[in-house]
């Protein structure tokens, strides 16, 4: 029953690395191609211990799904990866988060730089009330990377193509981004994140606010994007995780309970909390 639900397009995509697990604990690494390394990351909001000793890697060209019940620390963990927790009053972080071996919480590093290398797509599409072009060009313009308009035009087109939106909007680039449909808006937000040339894409339930057709388009897009970027995605849908994620991490009450190959987690969970969660989902 479960197997048939999980008939997935994912298996058609060639995997860069075979998935391996290390030791008896959570499989923190999918291989030796780690883009981001997190070691014993703790997050406190005032006195609340929101994230407890999380240790996991984010690998190149891989989709890592974060799952767990609401309030389990998935979003908190995601926001650790691009230092967005810095913007929360009273947030405190301990442990190491490395991007290509460099500590992103190094006091000498500007969080602004980190965020331009780690793209983020929010749960609800949040295009700026600007033109479609200006939305995509927002990041590159911030960083002043382009002197010539033609270069910027090229980048905007490339980003929109990668987000699978170019054909739909190429004639209306000067229209407001907020006038697009929900699914288009979300792809615009993805294009906006890609335009910065990030190494990692973070997505917080990117399709939960969309209808099934638009969600399907974005899921397919995520699978394609995984060929270039490391992707960390929060999802509440087991089917979705199974369709798109190479590895899945299960969070519960601020702890990383277990992580491993998606198939492995779903068919043979080691921890009974994971098992309960997965079974509860299917009644």
């Amino acid at each position: 029953m479960i197997q048939s639900l999980f008939a997935s397009p994912k298996s058609q995509r060639p995997k860069p690395e075979p998935v391996r697990t290390r030791g008896a604990g959570p499989a923190v690494s999918g291989g030796h191609d780690a883009k981001m390394v997190c070691r014993e990351v703790n997050v406190f909001y005032e006195d609340f211990h929101a994230l407890k000793d999380v240790t996991i890697d984010v690998n190149n060209r891989e989709v890592l799904a974060l799952m767990g019940p609401s309030g389990c620390g998935k979003s908190t963990f995601l926001r650790c990866l691009n230092r967005m927790n810095d913007t929360v009053d009273g947030a405190r972080i301990t442990g190491d988060v490395l991007l290509e071996g460099k500590d992103i919480y190094d006091p000498n590093i500007d969080p602004v730089l980190i965020r331009s290398r780690i793209g983020m797509v929010a749960q609800a599409p949040n295009p700026f009330p600007k033109s479609i072009y200006d939305n995509v060009a927002f990041g590159p313009r911030l960083h002043g990377l382009f002197d010539r308009k033609s270069d910027l035009d090229e980048l905007v087109e490339k980003s929109l193509r990668r987000a699978g939106l170019w054909e739909e909007v190429k004639d209306i680039l000067d229209h407001s981004g907020t006038g697009l449909s929900g699914g288009q808006q979300q792809r615009l937000c993805i294009a906006r994140a890609i335009a910065n040339g990030p190494d990692v894409l973070l997505m917080d339930e990117p399709v939960s606010a969309l209808d099934p057709v638009a969600a399907g388009v974005i899921e397919k897009l995520i699978t394609e994007l995984a060929e270039r970027y490391a992707i960390v995605i929060i999802t509440h849908s087991l089917e979705q995780a199974h369709r798109i994620a190479d590895r899945t991490a299960f969070f519960y009450l601020g702890e990383l309970v277990e992580a491993g190959a998606t198939e492995e987690i779903f068919t043979n969970p080691k921890d009974k909390r994971t098992k309960h969660f997965i079974e509860g989902m299917f009644g």
Partner: protein, 434 residues
């Protein structure tokens, strides 16, 4: 399942349920009636204001004028352009006007008669002709029929505000003057014409030639000063308080005080402006600069409150979106938050400007009640803005100033309606779909 269904049906048909439905509908209907009545009362009062002001003021837009032939064939006027000014100064235009009147009405038999005849026209009639001839040198050498403003007493008689058929001692004008008026009327030499002096003239002791142009220019200059001072300051304060300031008791304290300032009587700001801007900083009094600064004190709290509300209404997801793309805090504010909040900020600004336009008390405090015959040429020229002009006219004894007052109020109301409509238009035009 079935029994549950039945039980629910029973509930919906029970008397108790029916009564509660009736009660709820009754409450809704009463609320609608209350609301409708409130709106009707407000609209009715507004209508009374507009109608009563318009009924009093519309007559000021016409002005009784007399057609008088002016003989400009005198030798001393036939000079080349460079000497024309000097020549014009030497001509007794008053005499030309009197001769023109006499040619229409016959010579007056005595000095008193001549004076009464001249009193048909505004005392400035001679000056008026001089100005006209300077503007139209080709009139020289001809006899021209010129429309000249009648004096305010004649104007009032003509408009019917003062009775004609009463004994002489109870009438504004003498029997002789009345006879002349009737002769001029019969000959078609006296009629109500569009009063361009009201719109393009400045204040005057003579109501028949008093206009609001100088006051309007003074108001505009003053509002420009207010806008230039209070918009950037207000937006900067709002941005700081909303986006950068830590939320603690100190910022709470500031917040409470700003809200208090918005409710402080405007005369208090007038006193403050008098003490600080005029006494301490020595800014010349009665100038649009001083007035604009005083009004800035008044508009600043309103603009700060409106701008803060507009900034707070920008969804946090947009700020996060910008931050996540690597924008710094300042870039987020200038490139995402402010453009999105701008319609709200502009709406608040225009409404506070409209308030400032109608403000009088603080201006009286800083001496902007001067009698100004000249149009202010800059923010350092003395000026009497529109509301103050209305105030001074309303305290003038001449009957003719009453209609001027009402007409000036009409102009002010039209300006206010225009500014508020602009605010609503901007709000609708740039309303966001987030």
């Amino acid at each position: 399942m079935t029994s549950k269904h039945h039980a629910q049906e029973d509930v919906f048909t029970s008397d108790r349920f029916q009564r509660s439905v009736k009660r709820r509908r009754g409450a809704e209907r009463r609320l609608k009636v209350f609301g409708g009545t409130a709106i009707a009362v407000a609209t009715g009062l507004l209508l009374i204001l507009f109608v009563s002001i318009s009924a009093q003021g519309y007559t000021a837009f016409t002005q009784t004028q007399l057609s008088v032939p002016i003989d400009l064939r005198a030798e001393e006027l036939r000079v080349a352009a460079p000497e024309l000014d000097a020549a014009l100064r030497n001509v007794n235009f008053r005499k030309l006007v009197r001769e023109g009147l006499e040619s229409r009405l016959g010579a007056a038999e005595d000095r008193r008669g001549r004076r009464e005849m001249m009193a048909l026209l505004t005392p400035s009639a001679g000056y008026f002709i001089q100005q006209q001839v300077r503007a139209n040198p080709d009139w020289i050498g001809t006899v021209r029929d010129v429309w000249l403003p009648a004096s305010d007493d004649i104007d009032i008689i003509k408009k019917g505000f003062a009775p004609r058929d009463v004994p002489e001692e109870q009438r504004l004008i003498t029997d002789r003057q009345l006879a002349w008026v009737e002769r001029m009327e019969a000959g078609g030499f006296m009629e109500g014409r569009f009063n361009s002096m009201f719109f393009f003239g400045n204040d005057s002791r003579e109501p028949e030639i008093a206009g609001i142009f100088g006051a309007a220019v003074g108001s505009i200059l003053m509002l420009m000063v207010t806008l230039v001072v209070s918009l950037p300051l207000g937006v900067a304060a709002a941005v700081y308080l909303e986006e950068f300031a830590p939320k603690n008791w100190w910022t709470e304290f500031i917040d409470v005080n700003i809200r208090n300032l918005a409710a402080v009587p405007s005369i208090v700001f007038g006193l403050l402006a008098l003490a600080v801007f005029i006494r301490l900083f020595g800014i010349p009094r009665s100038t649009p600069l001083a007035g604009g600064l005083a009004l800035s004190l008044l508009t600043l709290p309103t603009i700060i409150i409106a701008a803060r509300a507009a900034i707070a209404a920008v969804p946090p997801s947009l700020r996060e979106g910008a931050l996540e793309l690597g924008a710094s805090k300042l870039q987020t504010v200038t490139q995402v938050v402010l453009p999105s909040a701008m319609p709200g900020i502009l709406t608040g600004t225009i409404i506070s400007m409209a308030e400032a336009l109608g403000e009088t008390a603080p201006l009286l405090m800083i001496g902007m009640v001067a009698f100004m015959v000249d149009t202010p040429a800059g923010i350092l020229d003395p000026a009497a803005p529109l509301p103050v002009q209305i105030y001074t006219w309303s305290t003038s004894p001449e009957r003719a100033f009453a209609e001027k007052t009402a007409a000036a109020i009409m102009v002010l109301l039209v300006l206010l309606v225009f500014m508020n409509s602009l605010a609503i238009y901007l709000r609708n035009r740039f309303q966001h779909k987030w």
